[in-house]
């Protein structure tokens, strides 16, 4: 039995088929990359799994439980955390408070939530900014706060929507390091949408490629970059030659 199984997911936005009959599965402890050109349906697929969209047909199974059509807060309580491509820049709550809200997912006690939030912040080296508001922070830190918030809900599967976009190479290096650590030390299964190929290649153990809402390839990173369909749809001839 797989950890997360997606069977024949289809999502149709009134004539625009964003996801067409997509199936795959993820094993516990894996790091899976999801790539594809803009508009390929990556975020839609995430939303179908997590519950922001209800798939028109198909089935999502998580740890043996059918979670198709679950609301986002329900999948979150099941142990699926997610981050957003665009972090809303808000002024209402400090970093610590944000992360505490995540921790409140598993506890009712404020002191416990606070302690767990501080632990997560320490783990991500965010302790120094805990009293800042999100709008006062640079984008790389904002992304990390989004990640910390999701981590505080203690997910077993973490779905990351472009955590590395807008970051410089050094920051990307750090994120890669961090993701590996989460995966090995905390045994969190990672499923990430990413545009930055170096990062996908470095961090993921398996890659799924979408194009026009369909899955066009799946396999090891080294095989994916040689796949003709993937080169044509996404990577381009130049990238293939460069390797």
């Amino acid at each position: 039995m797989s950890f997360l199984t997606v069977e024949n997911i289809t999502k149709d936005f009134g004539g625009l088929v964003a996801n067409n009959n997509i199936s795959f599965s993820i094993e516990e402890g894996e790091i899976i990359g999801l790539i594809g050109p803009n508009g390929a349906g990556k975020t839609t697929l995430f939303n179908c799994i997590v519950g922001y969209h209800r798939p028109d047909s198909g089935k999502v199974t998580f740890k043996g439980k059918d979670i198709t059509g679950f609301k986002p807060f329900e999948t979150s309580r099941e142990g699926i955390g997610r981050t957003f491509q665009i972090m809303k820049v808000t002024t209402g709550m400090t970093v610590l408070e944000n992360v505490m809200v995540g921790a409140f997912c598993r506890t009712n006690d404020r002191n416990t939530a606070r302690m767990e939030a501080l632990e997560v912040l320490n783990g991500l080296a965010l302790h120094a900014v805990k009293d800042y508001y999100i709008n006062e922070l640079p984008i790389a830190i904002q992304r990390k706060v989004g990640l910390a918030r999701a981590l505080a809900t203690k997910p077993v599967l973490l779905m990351l929507d472009e955590v590395a976009s807008g970051l410089n190479p050094k920051e990307i290096e750090e994120v890669v390091e961090l993701l590996r650590r989460l995966n090995s030390a905390q045994k969190i299964t990672l499923f990430l949408i990413e545009h930055i190929m170096e990062m996908v290649m470095k961090v993921s153990q398996r890659v799924i490629v979408l194009d026009y809402g369909e899955k066009i390839a799946e396999g090891l990173p080294a095989d994916i970059v040689k796949d003709e369909n993937v080169i044509k749809a996404y990577l381009g001839e130049k990238y293939a030659k460069g390797l």
Partner: protein, 332 residues
Amino acid sequence: MEKLKDALNFSDFSKAERIGLIIFSVFLLVFPVLGTGSFAKTVMIQFLLFSLFGMGWNTIGGYGGQVELGKAQYVGIGAYTVALMMVWWKAPFWISMPIGILIAVGYSFIIGYPLFRLKGHYFAIATICTSLVLKDIFDNWNLVGAAKGIELPIHDHPDFLYMQFKSDTYYYYFIMALFYIGLFYMNWFRKSKLGYQLRMIKDDEDAAESLGIDIRWCKIKAYSIASAFVAVGGGFMAVYNLYIDPASTMELSLSIKIALMAMLGGAASLWGPIIGAAFLVPLDRFLGSWLGGHKGLSGIDFMIYSALIMVVSAYQPRGIWGIIEQFRKRGH
């Protein structure tokens, strides 16, 4: 026990705020013995009552960020429950008020469940509608006195059971006690799980949902807490005025005033509704009775309220308290 400790713990406020609270509390305590006239006492009672309303509104409207403009219907429910139970069954205040709260909370669940399918302006309009519908029903319902309203039977002797007193001082201390219960409750509420979750919902609903928050249920809970607060105030209005009618307890203008108290003073802050009420209650007296009554400019109060709402939401969504905090930040 832990909750009580949280409610009484103001240590996360600045020193200035804590000293301010103490001075304010001492002032409230000695106010009736300062020898001020009955008019001043009436205004103070109004101020405490509207602070209580504003604190209630602050749960859903301030922390939760849902612009709610139908709180008057719960004032009406609280007031009518107390008045009718007293007229029909001679029920003491201490029995009718809790029942009023229960009815208000029950009603808020029934109303809140469909209402919170809506968001933003649609939600605000829908809350106005439900409140107006209830007022119309009471306006035409002969059993409850229709538009004439109901008078409460007046007792000859002061009576703690029915909360009827000759002197306003008793009412003053009673509403002051309710005010402090409200203040302590809100002090706990803002630190509670629900308080945090509501602030997250206000900031970013999608993110809140991804963190395991059942948004609709949280909003309904906050809405019913707000309704309970307001129903207590309504019950007080009934025994204080000894006369209630739909126009004084369920009018749209009351809903707007309640929301405006908190918004003007500072939504999502503990002090906001108190500051707002301190500002608006005297203004309301001035506009309503002096400009409206003597100078014949009736309706001018609404023009000024609507102007205030626009100015506050455009320039300083966090109200007077937001301005004060800005200055404090600059000082550092």
